[in-house]
Amino acid sequence: MEEKRFWKTKAGGLTLAFLVTMVGFVLILIGVNREINGLTILGLTAVVAAMLYSPVRVFLLEKRQ
């Protein structure tokens, strides 16, 4: 129950965002070193999306609520 609540908090969301960043990081590393452009762009998109989690949550989602 407590674990479920953690993932709904901002710290929990940021932890998820951090994990997505790490996945993006690995995809970029594979992409740039093996010259797989699609993978590189996918990784970059994941990183940017994860970065935007906090401003989107604070200034869009929470304000709407």
Partner: protein
């Protein structure tokens, strides 16, 4: 490189930094929210105006994430160490114990906010003094906002020659100074002289925060002695052995302040009741619940361990060399912008040596401290799980901000925006650029969170500009690294370390506002000194 250095390109390079500062100070956004906006602008500017392709942006982002992981290891382990102390209520014991050793409250604040941070900066650096110092100051009754501001100031002077002179060595390499040459020692002398004055100024500012002129009057003799030991010692040693020039005086000053607490002028209880930085009521109430059987030495066990581990590993060369052999780095291909700005391929980018990394020392100290406190019954059932859970929950918000800031600085560097920023200032101002030379150092640390990175980024540029302007390069290089050290007090990634452990996350803008008022005039003053020195030649 064919990047046009014009007003538009300069503005586009400066925009992310301006937006970051405005969002944090004017709109009071936390760094976690502001950093991604700065990052988006940097990416947009990099692709649209600096002709970088997405592969370059992605590669620089990955380099930024890797650099950020190295910093995050310190943040998490420093927070873990804080949580261990907090769970065992060791900070309350430290507060009570140190109050007895230093009954003069001003001396207590100076010891815990300036001298102890200098000591930590001398050995570990990388923001550890801020992360560790903030909760210690809260423990002695300092308000959280000032518990972040004071360590930021206290650690700043040690950024160039601290961490065994890592930032200084980076400057020497970047600017092409031959170790041991006349220019090498001349630049070190200028840097140490600026930092000596800044160190003394730090003591005065802390007194001013504590109790305006009354506190300055009381603290001035102590500040004079401590600054002479720290800054003066560094000045002398910078001409003998730069590696130990910060560490040795910092250790000595720690001993001296405890001895000063026994001197006539400071051995009696003294405080300013209406001090705006203190919140005594709150801590005195909490102090009732501290573990009575824990001594001051026992409360400091994790910090003693940290000091001992760091000193042994970093100063005993065979151990350092053996442990430093294990390292992990990443490989990146060469990338190039449409303007021909090249980021060289790297086989082993930013290698991380885990066994000589500050995060390892912090982790071991925290875990051994945890076991020690647990053995004595100061950490109860379920305490260990709670400590680790809280440390992760507390790390994530600052962690994401650090990742965003470091990626932003890497993209700015990798697309040529940083170079345009610096060249634009130098090109427009001509000789008067010298006044802003230390500000460039500050800017580098602001962006990267590290005096060392600032020196790597701008060391060569400052050397080239000094030669173009036909001025002596030694004061310019000294000003670069001194500006970088001063800038460590305004670096958002360092501020967030303090706001995290002080539990005031989101207040980075308020801290930054105060710090900018202190640091920018300081860098301009340094600039005026080197401008005057160049004019006298």
């Amino acid at each position: 490189m064919n990047i046009p250095v014009n007003f538009f390109m300069w503005i586009m390079a400066f925009l992310p930094i301006v937006v970051l500062i405005v969002l944090m100070i004017r709109f009071r956004w936390g760094a976690t929210e502001a950093a991604p906006i700065g990052l988006l602008i940097t990416i947009f500017s990099g692709v649209m105006f600096y002709k970088a392709d997405l592969t370059l942006i992605a590669a620089e982002s990955a380099k930024g994430i890797w650099n950020a992981i190295v910093i995050l290891l310190i943040i998490w382990t420093a927070i873990l160490m804080y949580q261990v102390g907090d769970e065992a209520k060791a900070f309350l014991v430290i507060r009570n114990g140190m109050s007895k050793l230093l009954p003069n409250e001003l001396m207590l604040v100076l010891a815990m906010g300036w001298i102890f941070e200098s000591f930590l900066q001398g050995i570990t650096g990388f923001g550890v003094p801020v992360a560790v110092g903030a909760p210690l100051l809260i423990g002695i009754g300092v308000r959280p906002m000032y518990a972040v501001i004071i360590p930021l100031l206290g650690q700043a002077w040690g950024n160039t020659f601290g961490t065994l002179a890592a930032a200084w060595d980076a400057l020497a390499v970047s600017a092409g100074l031959d170790v041991g040459s006349k220019h090498y020692f001349a630049a070190a002398l200028w840097a140490a002289a600026f930092l000596f004055v800044w160190d003394a100024f730090t003591g005065v500012i802390i007194c001013w925060f504590y109790g305006k002129a009354k506190a300055i009057k009381k603290g001035l003799p102590a500040i004079a002695v401590l600054a002479l030991v720290q800054g003066g010692g560094e000045l002398v040693l910078s001409q003998i052995n730069t590696t130990l020039s910060n560490f040795l005086p910092s250790v000595l000053s720690l001993v001296i302040i405890l001895l000063m607490g026994r001197m006539k002028a400071y051995r009696e209880p003294w405080s300013i009741e209406e001090s705006p930085i203190m919140a005594r009521g709150e801590t005195q109430e909490a102090a009732m619940e501290y573990p009575r059987d824990m001594s001051l030495v026992q409360a400091f066990v994790p910090y003693f361990l940290l000091s001992a581990l760091t000193i042994v590993v970093l100063t005993v060369t065979p151990i350092y060399q053996f442990l430093g052999r294990f390292s992990v780095g990443l490989s990146f291909p060469e990338t190039k912008t449409g303007y021909g700005y090249i980021n060289a391929a790297a086989e082993n980018y930013a290698p991380l040596a885990p066994f000589t990394h500050a995060g390892t020392f912090l982790f071991l100290s925290a875990v051994i401290g945890l076991l020690y406190y647990k053995k004595h019954g100061w950490i109860g059932q379920g305490g260990t799980k709670a400590i680790f859970a809280r440390s992760i929950a507390m790390t994530m918000p600052s962690g994401m901000a650090v990742v965003g800031l470091v990626i932003m600085s890497k993209i700015m560097g990798g697309t040529g925006q940083t170079v345009v920023l610096a060249q634009g200032i130098a090109g427009v101002l001509g000789n008067k650029y010298l006044i802003l030379a230390p500000f460039i150092g500050l800017l580098g640390t602001f962006m990267t969170g590290s005096n060392m990175s600032s020196n790597i980024l701008f060391g060569d540029f400052q050397m080239t500009t000094a030669n173009l302007l036909h001025v002596n390069a030694a004061p310019v290089l000294g000003a670069q690294t001194a500006g970088g050290a001063v800038g460590s007090a305004v670096s958002p990634s360092k501020i967030i370390l303090g706001t995290t452990t002080a539990n005031i996350l989101g207040k980075e803008g308020d801290v930054l506002k105060i710090m900018l008022l202190i640091t920018i005039p300081t860098t301009i003053l340094i600039g005026l000194v080197i401008f005057a020195a160049a004019g006298l030649r």
